[in-house]
Amino acid sequence: MANADVLDILSDTIPTTSRGAANKDEIIREKKKGPKKSIRRPEGMKREVWSLIAQDDRESVPIVPTDTKSGGNSYARWIKHSAMKVRSWQWTPFTNSARGPSDTFVLYHWQHKTNPDDPPQEYPFAKFNKHVDVPTYTDNEYEQYLQDKEWNRTETDVLFELCRKFELKFLIIHDRWNNILYPDRSVEDLKDRYYTICTTLEYARTKRHTDKYNFDAAHERRRKEQLNKLLSRTKAEEEEELYLMNELKRIENERKERERIISQDVQKFVQQQDQNISTTNNCIQRTVSSSSRRSSINQDYLQRLNSSSNRTSTTQRITTCDPPVGIKFPEFKRPGVFLRSQRMILPSSIPNKKLAVIDQVLKQCQLERNPMACEEIVDEFNDLRSDIILLFDLKNALNSAEYELQTSLHRLKGENGSTNMGVSSTQPSGAGINSSNEPSKTQFDFLLSQPNTPNENITSPRLSDSFEPTNIVRASTTERKRRALSSQTSTIKKRERLS
């Protein structure tokens, strides 16, 4: 090691404190470290070369990975092998059997020296010279099976001759096809003729249907046309297509988000509802609107909840206090002294938007942000804020769902419109021919024109209208778009009515 050399040279001048240390601890430490597992320099290698490659500490990683199979000594093994002699090469002549039996063309190349008594090797690439079997037909066969109104005998013969010559490389065959003597044929035409002949011959000779020569000319033509179109798109068209793809992706993602929101919130509310039923019935009993409707909803949700998660619902019934949805307020279970108002602190996990919503609703209800901290007030107040958050989430979900409904309806309308153009009318009184389409269509029209579905009994201004919920889907422009969509459907309706 270079380091060792330097130390050696300077050893006279360096104070040998570490060397001559009679310190008991140091000696013990040195002994404890033990013999380091360092790799020995292989014999053939020069000292400087080894110092470049070798590593003192096993921690540093080499830039180029080394072969550690033999513990770093593979170089030594190579050195050992390098003592062997090199194989000798010979400039030998050879012939290619693929060129044909009567070929005498001789070329030369380098080959390993072989023993003279071994038989001469076949040219290794000759085995790739594969030939295609092009069937031949007799005149009888032609007259019996292979007649075609568009192809006469000479043309067919020429085609087969070309196939044989060019090994079924149809592009070349098509290129060699004589347009002057014979009518112009496309590649598909030639292929079609060839493969139909092959299948018929096969069937005629063996009386068995095979799938060997399946060729669908029409499909091929369409495919090639599509590829051509693809190739010959202008830049503008390509960009438009990319744009459409991206839009599609985005719409799909948004739709997935909406689905997630909707299902999440419905679950949350279902849990909340269930818990609400079991623990406190005061609020529900006191509300004015039709109890029958609510009870039916409750039943419905109870059923759904019970079917999905039985155990969780029962445990929720047992625990009181915290609503499982909404906000989780800090609880004090450990011994100590606390202030009641500490239980009213909103956890920091709530995003600012929701905080603003809470404040807004509280202002509307003429409540201050931190009311006096009595026991009942704290509980009710916390529950109220939880409910506010739930309301907010529900509003979001509802908006997403409504937007989703609109887009689905439009998709439906688009497809219906394109397929059933002249068939059905949208008049509800109707001479509707497709009676099955009719009632559903009118039903959906009704839905389209009235985005807010059921009638509300509540006449007082709604709390939920006071805040603008966030939407994953194009937040600020949902209203505008909904109106635009509905106007568009009305124009479609008009068009269909006129037609």
């Binding site: 909803i297 108002s341 901290a373 529900l394 559903s440 709390l463």
Partner: protein, 240 residues
């Protein structure tokens, strides 16, 4: 010595009760009339903490620390006896931190904040007839206090027979409490009914979506390649 012994004996025995002590904390402020030239102070204020029921806090509270604004000399005021209040003068509002230390040194002190309010729009206060009072009601919850603390809490005796003023404030707070409870309950009702409503709408909308999707699938099955129509639909959606 005996005190030390009793404390070391008592440290980890806790009674599983919850004792609640209502307190009032806040500040009063009075405008001085003129701006004092010497230091620009315009108001005389006092921040305090006292028991709601006119008990003597010092039975279970050892000391209260009021942290004022840093510009005040000795801004961490430690008050070790009743009445637990700090009287000062100033010119601006700031947030004070109040820390209550309890007679049981093993209990962690309770820390909370109070915004010192000096200015008001109330005409009476502006006129100078009424002092500005910015008070909050709160409750100290002693959860599983140690035996020592329990004894102290239970034998907290009143300062003096409650004065008329105290009765008036108590009544005020009772009214306010009742009022707040009412309003909160009403608000909850409103929110709940809206939640019901929205859920119903959501459910209906979801069903409609399902139905429409079903119909779309039925329609699309007889059709062949429909990439074109989908693109059209997308275009239409985007164009709006």
């Amino acid at each position: 010595m005996s005190v030390v012994n009793s404390e070391s004996v008592v440290t980890n025995t806790r009674t599983p009760v919850v004792i609640i002590k209502p307190i009032l904390y806040g500040n009063t402020a009075k405008h001085l009339g003129t701006k004092r030239d010497s230091d620009g102070h315009t108001h005389r204020w006092s921040v305090y903490i006292r028991s709601f029921n006119n008990d003597d806090l010092s039975t279970y509270v050892s000391k209260v620390q009021f942290r004022l604004h840093e510009t005040y000399p000795n801004h961490a005021r430690m008050i070790t006896q009743a009445p637990f209040e700090v009287e000062e003068s100033g010119w601006g509002e700031f947030e004070t931190q109040i820390t209550i230390f309890f007679a049981d040194p093993n209990e962690k002190p309770v820390v909370f904040y109070h915004h010192l309010k000096l200015f008001s729009t109330d005409p009476d206060v502006v006129a100078g007839t009424k002092d500005l009072v910015n008070e909050h009601y709160d409750e100290l919850i002693f959860q599983e206090p140690s035996d020592l603390l329990v004894r102290l809490l239970n034998c907290a005796k009143a300062f003096a027979p409650s004065t008329d003023e105290n009765l008036a404030t108590a009544k005020e707070y009772a009214i306010k409490k009742h009022d707040t409870i009412d309003r909160v309950k009403k608000a909850r009702q409103r929110v709940r009914s809206e939640i019901q409503d929205l859920t119903e709408r959501l459910r209906i909308t979801q069903e409609n979506i399902k139905r429409v999707r079903q119909r779309t699938m039925d329609n699309s099955s007889p059709m062949g390649t429909f990439s074109l129509s989908i693109h059209d639909n997308i275009k239409r959606e985007i164009v709006d």
